[in-house]
Amino acid sequence: MAVIFELAVQGAQMLLVLLLAPLLIGFVRKVKARLVRRQGPLLIQPYRDLIRLMRKEVVLADNASWLFRVTPYLIFAATWVAAALVPTFAAGLQFSWTADLIVIVALLGSARFFQALAGMDVGTSFGGIGASREVMIASLAEPAMLLIVFSLALVAGATQLSTVAAFMGSPEVGLRVSLGMSLIALVMVAIAENARIPVDNPATHLELTMVHEAMILEYSGRHLAMIELATFLKLVLYVSLISCVFLPWGLAHAGAGPKALALGAAAYLVKLAVLAVLLAVFETAVAKMRVFRVPDFLGAALMLALLGTLLLFVSRSL
C-alpha cells in the first residue's frame, strides 16, 4: 500500500511539473507585461498556443532527416525526466535515488546536444549560428553548473538532490559564504540555460541576435509544441531547483503523509510565484547583452562557483 502511495506521489510530481510548466511561463509573461503597463495575454495563453500548435500541420524542410523528426521527442523526454527528478513539493520520492544532480545536469546536456544537432540538420545558416552559439554558451554554463553541484555536494555530503534539500532544511546549515556564491552562480547559469534576458531574448525574432530561437527556426506544428513544452519544463526545473536548495521551507520529506504533502504543494506554488515575479522584474530591468559579452557573464558565474568550491575544500564550514 505504502509503495502504491509513494508511486502515486511520484506520478503526481511528474504530472505536476508538466501541467505547471506552461502556467509558469504565462505568469512570467503576464507580470512582465504588467510591469511595462501592458495588459498582457491571458495566463493560460501558453496552453492555448501549445494546443494550436498540436493541431497545425508540420512543414518539414526538404532536406530534414529522421533525426530532425525524432529530436523533439528526445528533448522533451530528457527534460521531463530531469524535471521530474528535482524535488518540487516533496523530497525523497520513490525514484529520487535514480539520478543525482550531476545526472540532471547531464540530462539537460543531452537535450541540448540533440537540439543543436537538429539545428544543423536542415543546413541553413540560422541553424548553424544558433547551434554554434548554444554550444559556446553551454561550454561555460555546464562547468559552472557542475562546480555549483560540487559546492552543494560538499556542504550536504551527497550529490543526491533529496539529501541536499533535506540538509538545507535542517538547522545545521547556517550562513555560508560558499552557498551565497553558489546561489549567485546558479541564478546566472539558470538565466543562460533558459535563454532569458540578458543572455538571449525569448521573444525576439531578430535573427542575428537569437540563439535558442535560431536553432528551432525550422520546427513547426506538433514538433514545435514538444520543443516549446520542453523549454517551459526547463524553466520549471531551474526554478524548482533554486527553491528546493535555497528555499527548502515547507518541503515534505520522505514518508510524509497527505497533510504534509498538501502543505508542501502550497509552499511550492508560493515559491514559484515569488521567483517568477523576481525573474520578470529582473528581465524588465536589464537589457540584452551582445553575444560576445555572454562569455564574460558566464565566466563570472564559473569563477564564483569555482571560488565557492575552493572555499569548501579549504574548510568545510565556510
Partner: protein, 652 residues
C-alpha cells in the same frame, strides 16, 4: 585488375580472419580466467630472448583487464578489417604489420621483466610505425611517420632509464625484484617523471602529444582505431604497472603532478579537437582529452593512496580503468565511422562532407551513438565513468595537504570544462559531417559500407549502451584489479537495489543508468503516443526558410571552422594565441573582404621548435668537423684521450 584483386582478397580475409579468431580466443581465455579465479597470478619464464636471462611473462588481474581491452578491440577491429581492408590500395603494406602490432600490444601487457617489456614495447612501436607509413607516398604521412619515430624512440629512452633506476645498482631485470626493492624519494620522483615522459608520450600527454594527431590519422582507419583506442591504453598500462605496482607507496606530490598534467591535457586536447576540420585528426585530438581524464583520475588515486584513503583511491582508480574501457569502445567506433565515411566518399575534410545521414543511414546512426557516448551524456557509458571521476573528486576535501586542496577543485573544474567542450566538439563532428546538405559531389555518390564494417560498428555501439546502463557489472569485474593494486575495492555494485551504482559505501549518492534509460524511453514513447493519438498528423515538405533567399548554395552552410568560431573567440586567445584580422575593402572597391585567423600550436612552438632549432644550430656548427686537416683530427683524438684519463683518475 580482376586478377590482382582476386589474389589480394583472400590474403586480406585470411589475415583479418585469423587475427579475429586469435583475438577472440585470447579474449575468451582471459575473460574466463578473470571470472573464475580473479586473484590468481600465473607466471611463466620462457628460455627466449637473451641467453641465461630468458623472458618472464605474468598474468595477474591488471594485465588480465588490459588483455581484455586489447583483445576485445583487436577482435572488433579485425572484424571491421574484413570489410574495410578490401578498399586498401596496397594491402601488402598493411597486412604483415597488422598482426605484429596486435601481438606486440599483447606482449607488453604480459611482460614481467624490463627486458621483455621494452622489447615488446619497441616491437609495438615499430609495427605501428610501419602501419602509419602504409601510405608513404603522401608527404604529410612521411612527416607524421618521422615525428612518430623520433617521439617513440624518445619515449623508449625514457622508459629504459626508468627501468634502469628501478633495477638499481644490482641491475635486476625481473619485475618481482623491482617490486621488492623500494627506491628512495629522489629515485622514485625520477622514475615518475621518466614514466610520464615515456608512457605519457605514447599515450599523448600534453606537451608530448605532438606526434599523436599526425600519426594516428595517417594510418588506415582501422589501424587508427587500434592506435587511438587500444595502443594509448597499453601506454596507460605501462604507467600503472610501474607507478602503482613496482614503485611501491607513492608520495602525495606525485598525485599533484599527475593531476595537473591530466587536467591540462584534457582541456588542451579537446580545444585542439574543436579547432580541427579533418575528421580523423579531430578524433585523434579527442583521444588526448580522454587520456587526460584517465590521468587526472589516476592522479587522484595516487593522492588518495598516499594519504591512506583506500576506498576513495579504489573509486578513483576504478573510474580511470572504466574510462579506459569506455574510451576503447567509443573511440574505436568513431574511427570506424570515420573510416566508413572515408571509404564511401574519399574525404576526411569535414568542410567537403555534409548530409551523409541520407546516404549512410546505419553508419550515421552508430556514429551518433559514439558521439553521444564520448560526450558523456546519460545513459551511455562515457557518462558512467565521468560520474565516477566527479564522485572521486568530491571525496578529496579530506586530503590533508594544502597543495592537493587547491589543485583538486581546479582540476575538477577543468574536467567539467573538458566534458562540456567535448559535447560541443562532437555536435560539430556529427553535425558538419552527417547533417546539413552535401558540400561536394563525392557525398552525393556515397553508398552505405559493407556488412563486416557495419557489424563491427554496431557491436561497439551496443557495448557503449550496455556499459552505460549496466555499469555495476563492469565496476564489480574491476574489483580484483583495485584489490591487488590499492588494497581496497568499491562496494559490491550488483548487490545494490535496481542495479544502481554507488561510489563509496557510506555515500548517499547513486546513479542508475538502466532506470534513466527506461524513463527516457517511456516518456519519449508516451509523448509520441499522445501526439499520434491527439495531435494533427498532417505533414508537408517544403523548402527551408532562408529569409526570402531561397536555394542558398550548400557552401553557404555553417562549416567546421565557422561552427567553432564562438568558442575560438572565447578560449582561443589564451590556448592558441589566435588572432583574427578582417580586411575590409574600401567602399566601392570590388575585391572581396577577407577574414584571416592567425593560429599557433603553443606546445609545438614552446617545446619542439627550440629543440629542432638547437639541433639545426649544433649540426651546422659540427659540420665543420668533417673538413679538418689530419693534424687537427689527431689533436682532437689526443685531447679526448687526456680528458678520458683525467676522468678515470679523478673517479672515486
Amino acid at each position: 585488375m580482376a586478377a590482382v584483386v582476386g589474389r589480394r582478397a583472400p590474403a586480406t580475409s585470411l589475415v583479418y580472419g585469423a587475427a579475429l579468431a586469435i583475438s577472440a580466443a585470447l579474449l575468451a581465455i582471459v575473460a574466463g580466467h578473470l571470472a573464475d579465479n580473479p586473484g590468481v597470478v600465473s607466471a611463466v619464464a620462457l628460455p627466449l630472448g637473451l641467453p641465461w636471462t630468458g623472458a618472464r611473462f605474468r598474468l595477474d588481474s591488471l594485465s588480465a583487464f588490459f588483455l581484455v581491452v586489447v583483445n576485445l578491440g583487436g577482435a572488433v577491429t579485425s572484424l571491421y578489417g574484413l570489410g574495410y581492408g578490401r578498399h586498401e590500395s596496397q594491402p601488402h603494406r598493411v597486412l604483415p604489420f597488422y598482426p605484429a602490432f596486435l601481438a606486440g600490444m599483447n606482449l607488453v601487457v604480459l611482460a614481467d621483466d624490463a627486458f621483455s617489456f621494452l622489447l615488446s614495447w619497441e616491437f609495438m612501436s615499430l609495427a605501428s610505425w610501419a602501419l602509419v607509413m602504409a601510405h608513404h607516398r603522401d608527404e604529410a604521412n612521411r612527416r607524421a611517420g618521422y615525428i612518430y619515430l623520433v617521439m617513440a624512440s624518445f619515449g623508449t629512452l625514457a622508459l629504459l632509464l626508468a627501468f634502469g633506476l628501478l633495477a638499481g645498482p644490482a641491475g635486476t631485470y625481473a619485475f618481482d625484484a623491482m617490486r621488492a626493492a623500494h627506491p628512495g624519494l629522489l629515485a622514485a620522483g625520477a622514475v615518475l617523471a621518466l614514466m610520464l615522459l615515456g608512457a605519457g608520450s605514447k599515450a599523448g600527454l600534453v606537451p608530448l602529444h605532438a606526434w599523436l594527431p599526425l600519426a594516428h590519422p595517417a594510418a588506415p582507419s582501422h589501424v587508427s582505431a587500434l592506435m587511438s583506442g587500444i595502443m594509448t591504453k597499453v601506454a596507460i598500462y605501462g604507467f600503472i604497472r610501474v607507478v602503482f605496482d613496482l614503485l611501491g607507496e607513492p608520495a602525495w606530490w606525485s598525485g599533484v603532478v599527475v593531476l595537473l598534467i591530466g587536467g591540462a591535457t584534457a582541456v588542451l586536447g579537446i580545444l585542439h579537437a574543436l579547432m580541427e576540420k579533418d575528421l580523423k585528426r579531430l578524433l585523434a585530438y579527442s583521444t588526448i582529452e580522454n587520456i587526460g581524464v584517465v590521468f587526472a583520475s589516476l592522479g587522484l588515486a595516487l593522492a588518495f593512496k598516499a594519504n591512506a584513503m583506500p576506498s576513495a583511491a579504489a573509486l578513483a582508480f576504478t573510474a580511470a580503468l572504466f574510462h579506459v574501457l569506455n574510451h576503447s569502445f567509443f573511440k574505436s567506433l568513431l574511427f570506424f565511422g570515420a573510416g566508413a565515411v572515408l571509404s564511401a566518399t574519399g574525404e576526411r575534410d569535414m568542410e567537403r562532407l555534409g548530409g551523409l545521414i541520407h546516404r549512410l543511414p546505419v553508419t550515421s546512426f552508430v556514429f551518433l551513438v559514439g558521439c553521444v557516448s564520448i560526450s558523456a551524456l546519460p545513459p551511455f557509458n562515457g557518462f558512467a565513468s565521468e560520474w565516477l571521476v566527479f564522485q572521486a573528486i568530491l571525496q578529496s576535501p579530506e586530503l590533508p595537504q594544502w597543495g592537493l586542496k587547491v589543485i583538486v577543485p581546479a582540476v575538477g573544474g577543468m574536467l567539467a570544462l573538458a566534458a562540456a567542450l567535448a559535447a560541443a566538439c562532437f555536435v560539430k563532428a556529427f553535425g558538419i559531417t552527417f547533417l546539413g546538405r552535401a558540400r561536394s559531389t563525392a557525398v552525393e555518390r556515397a553508398h552505405e559500407v559493407d556488412r563486416w564494417s557495419l557489424a563491427a560498428m554496431a557491436m561497439l555501439a551496443v557495448f557503449c549502451l550496455l556499459a552505460g546502463i549496466l555499469p555495476g557489472f563492469v565496476i564489480d569485474s574491476l574489483s580484483p584489479v583495485t584489490l591487488s593494486l590499492i588494497g581496497d575495492r568499491m562496494p559490491v555494485q550488483t548487490a545494490q537495489p535496481w542495479l544502481s551504482i554507488v561510489p563509496i559505501a557510506e555515500s548517499r549518492s547513486s546513479y542508475n543508468g538502466l532506470l534513466v534509460f527506461v524513463f527516457i524511453t517511456i516518456s519519449a514513447s508516451l509523448a509520441a503516443f499522445f501526439i499520434h493519438r491527439f495531435a494533427s498528423h498532417a505533414l508537408r515538405r517544403g523548402p527551408a526558410w532562408g529569409c526570402g533567399f531561397a536555394d542558398a548554395v550548400p557552401s553557404a552552410q555553417y562549416t567546421a571552422v565557422s561552427f567553432a568560431q564562438p568558442i575560438r573567440r572565447v578560449f582561443g586567445s589564451f590556448a592558441f594565441r589566435a588572432r583574427e584580422t578582417v580586411e575590409m575593402p574600401a567602399p566601392g572597391a570590388l575585391e572581396p573582404a577577407r577574414l584571416k585567423v592567425d593560429f599557433h600550436d603553443v606546445a609545438w612552438e614552446t617545446f619542439y621548435q627550440p629543440i629542432t632549432g638547437a639541433i639545426d644550430f649544433a649540426t651546422d656548427r659540427l659540420n665543420h668537423l668533417q673538413f679538418l686537416t689530419i693534424r687537427r683530427y689527431l689533436t682532437l683524438v689526443f685531447l679526448y684521450l687526456v680528458i678520458l684519463l683525467l676522468v678515470l683518475a679523478l673517479w672515486p
